[in-house]
């Protein structure tokens, strides 16, 4: 069996490394997925917030990025990118986001869409200084 032949090629330390890394990644994954549903949607371009709206309102937003226009759709309390001008469509592949702190990043286009919880105060201006 393939798994057996892989195991045969691993030393004791190899197995320990794989286990430790696996547990580390697993615990990080669990820690991050316990989030509250978000309330607002924010869009940043090169560190500046260019658009913000509550997630409850359904809408289609055309976003001007560095490369061109992207289309973001907000519906049923979540957001998803449905059109992007970049060649690899990474942001579209990121799917739908609806939880506090989740993001859709469109690197070539310089866009970052994120969701924030409603009651939290705005604390993002620190990063604008560059």
């Amino acid at each position: 069996m393939a798994l057996k032949s892989v195991l045969r090629r691993m030393t004791l330390l190899d197995r320990a490394i794989v286990m430790v890394l696996g547990m580390f990644a697993g615990s990080l994954l669990l820690g991050i997925n316990s989030r509250a549903p978000g309330e607002n949607i924010l869009v940043e371009r090169e560190g500046k917030i260019i658009f913000t709206a509550p997630l409850k309102e359904e809408r289609e937003i055309r976003l001007k990025g560095i490369r061109g226009e992207a289309v973001l759709i907000v519906r049923e309390g979540g957001a998803e990118m449905i059109e992007a001008p970049c060649p690899r469509k990474v942001c579209m592949g990121m799917g739908r986001i609806d939880q506090d702190g989740e993001i859709i990043a469109c690197v070539p286009n310089g866009l970052l869409v994120r969701i924030e919880g409603g009651n939290e105060p705005e604390k993002t201006y620190d990063v604008l200084s560059r």
């Binding site: 032949s5 892989v6 090629r9 691993m10 030393t11 004791l12 330390l13 190899d14 490394i17 794989v18 890394l21 696996g22 580390f24 990644a25 697993g26 990080l28 994954l29 991050i32 940043e44 560190g47 690899r88 469509k89 990474v90 592949g93 990121m94 702190g101 989740e102 993001i103 990043a105 690197v107 070539p108 970052l112 994120r114 990063v127 560059r130």
Partner: protein, 192 residues
């Protein structure tokens, strides 16, 4: 045929150079094929080129691994037309972190660590280095770190598989006469 000592060491050096060039070329090829492959999620990469980095590290030592990795990233980016683009710097950061960690592991743990362990650590370091660089130069936002556990988990799987392939490759290569003078030469070269 007889060789003097000097001649045979010259021969060894030339052979080493040629093999390094071949390994780099192969790494570039794997890198390019990988980019062309469809992938289920955009940030997921197989990291096939790391097979060759691990192999070279174990055959020829850290300096050779650095040469192959940097060569692969620069030539690979040239081929794909993304030299000095953000993606290039991400590759560079990931690659440098991977080689640094793999070299450290190889030096610290010696024979106790095999290709699979080295490859896993390298893959994890690649993920971490790339994340760090993405955070530093592209999107300076903490939310970016959400991707990290997934990236780490994926890198673990590909790390084990690539490590196993590297081990098979090493097994085959070490049995070949062209690498006969090299048994454990990686360690000797590194102390030079």
């Amino acid at each position: 045929m007889t060789f003097s000592v000097a001649e045979s060491s010259d021969l060894e050096r030339a052979r080493r150079r040629i093999f390094l060039a071949l390994f780099t070329a192969l790494a570039v090829a794997l890198n390019t094929v990988e980019v062309l492959l469809p992938s289920p999620v955009p940030w997921f990469r197989l990291g096939l080129a790391n097979i060759l980095t691990v192999t070279v590290l174990l055959l020829y030592g850290p300096r050779a691994a650095w040469a192959v990795t940097l060569g692969r990233i620069i030539v690979g980016s040239l081929l794909l037309g993304r030299l000095f683009s953000p993606g290039f710097f991400l590759s560079l950061g990931g690659g440098a972190a991977a080689v640094a960690v793999m070299t450290a592991a190889w030096k610290l743990c010696g024979a106790r660590i095999g290709p699979v362990g080295i490859s896993c650590l390298g893959a994890a370091a690649h993920a971490a280095g790339q994340m760090l660089l993405a955070w530093a130069i592209l999107v300076r936002h903490d939310a970016l770190w959400q991707l990290f556990p997934l990236l780490l988990l994926a890198s673990l799987v590909t790390g084990v598989l690539n490590g196993a392939v590297a081990d098979m490759l090493l097994e085959t290569l070490k049995g070949h006469p062209a690498f006969a003078g090299l048994r454990d030469a990686g360690r000797k070269n590194s102390s030079r």
